[in-house]
Symmetry: C2
DNA sequence: GATTACACATGACAAATATCGATCAAGGCA
DNA sequence: TGCCTTGATCGATATTTGTCATGTGTAATC
């Protein structure tokens, strides 16, 4: 009979497992969950003992999860989804209204999609309209009242008290190791398109520091920039996610790039209960996992 | 921040909620779960505190669950389904083979349907073929090796050590209050059809006790018998589930009806790992909830 | 209207279990 | 090699969870 009490999956343990996958490691997961590393380690251990099988491989080089771990991870995702939806549904208040939401392309394939889907399900009377644009464009639309809120990239020092920070990110100057940087001549710059707001920073600051950047390549997608960097076309500003092994971070000679943050920024509209709820759900998800996970 | 740790649904608590619905009350649920009544009461209380809303109405006469309770119950069912499936999937052993299973009509709409569905999903390489027949027929098929196992109704004293008891049931002689029972003449008997094994008991025992039963009505479905009893056509043998307010249980004048049990009875086949697993899953479900629930 | 039976709530306490901080072991990397 | 990061482990607390004993409210019975 004790067999059955021991064979029970704790919600918290499943969430820990999930966080380990999301954050790539026990220590980081613990941090995100607001627990100590040993607590998370123990949680997984208990889970493994109660299931009598290994979930993490603990072998360096190999994948982090065993087959059983991956298997359980799949169930964990579904169980947690239902669990969180159950929690929300108990506090729902038959919401109705409209929400016009702006997103950057980067964030569409993160947890946000999941949250938005759930929000639709829980509040069928709220019409959510989303627009995907670049951060600068979204900010303009916010200003003009065309959006109720948007998820935009901003400089870390520009984060407003009313913004909800999803995650922070560092920018790096990168180049291919083989590309020499001459001190005098203009530096070849690989740039996102015109509306990319840190491209503007690069061109402005560049002038202050006496460094001259010459845009030799312009591409709207990160993939294009990455390809251009690895083929040695020039230097670029990339965030940590896009760093590749064959890229070299330029430590000196260029002004230190600013830190970035992805935030939920609200428009000027006075009252919008549906938006309040949506933002609250995003916030809750963030504090539960210590930030949103990016698509891997 | 502590708000989020407190807002967490324990699997055990959800199972308790589910058991309360299944067994119709905290005390019975506690018994089924192998816990004390106060433990279950506490569990629900904690759940309510953490959710900050009432789940059980505690008002006599009213429904047992509040709206929020019903809401959560729905999620609980789905979460527990996933949870249990996750547990099973981790111990699955890529089963293959064939199982020929017999069922009585009564049991098709119980938890068994759910268990069979899950079994199919978890073991797609096992072909499960089910046949719905009356208990006596199923027993014959078991004898002849046409079935690997069957869920049949048997007299409680005929339960074999190898049988897995799903639940037990009492039979009652019932009649309409207005129907007089003459001591001398034959008693009008409302019977299931010929293959109903306790109809045979009724006719046999009837003769021993000097009581003469005359079958005045024959119908394969319980609903038909119920209708016949309430219209005063005669007496019948019915199980507790089919008792109605306007029926009178006949305490004397007729031999005490035997107790019944629904059991999983296996056929003679030597080895069948797929069947072993299926029976094990049914057993596990039983001990988890203290018996299978009937359709309400 | 007292009484009994029943189902549930509640409080105190004991046992189990989770968490933390500190420490330890192992691998990756300069 | 020595440093640094990551995760395992240990002992000490803190929290959770169950049980027992008891209290409360409701209905049925005399």
């Amino acid at each position: 009979m004790t067999e059955f009490t021991s064979r029970r999956l704790e919600i918290d343990a499943l969430r820990a497992l999930w966080a380990i996958r999301h954050h790539g490691g026990i220590t980081r997961a613990a941090e995100a969950l607001g627990l100590s590393q040993s607590a998370v380690s123990h949680k997984i251990k208990r889970l493994e003992t109660s299931l009598d099988c290994d979930l993490l491989s603990r072998k360096p080089g190999a994948a982090m999860f065993t087959a059983a771990g991956e298997d359980l991870l799949d169930y964990a995702g579904r169980i947690l989804g239902l669990h969180d939806e159950a929690l929300l549904s108990l506090s729902k208040t038959s919401l109705a209204g409209r929400v016009a939401l702006g997103l950057t392309e980067d964030t569409t394939c993160t947890d946000l999609a999941r949250i938005l889907g759930r929000f639709r399900r829980l509040h069928p009377n709220v019409s959510v309209r989303t627009k995907v644009r670049m951060s600068l464009v979204l900010r303009g639309m916010l200003e003009r009242g065309e959006l109720d809120a948007a998820i935009v990239q901003v400089f870390a020092h520009e984060v407003r008290p009313t913004d909800v920070v999803l995650f922070r990110e560092a920018l790096h100057w990168v180049k291919h190791p083989d590309l020499p940087l001459s001190q005098d001549g203009p530096i070849p710059f690989l740039s996102f398109d015109d509306e990319c707001f840190y491209r503007r920073w690069a061109l402005d600051i560049g002038q202050d520091g006496g460094v001259v950047l010459e845009t030799v390549f312009e591409c709207a997608s990160a993939a294009g920039i990455v390809a251009a960097v690895t083929s040695g076309l020039g230097v670029a500003l990339l965030n940590g996610r896009h760093l590749q092994p064959d890229m070299e971070i330029i430590a000196k000679g260029l002004p230190a790039p600013p830190a970035l943050a992805y935030v939920v920024r609200r428009g000027r509209k006075v009252r919008n209960p549906a938006l309040d709820t949506l933002v609250a759900e995003i916030e809750s998800e963030i504090s539960r996992y210590g930030g949103l996970a990016l698509a891997s």
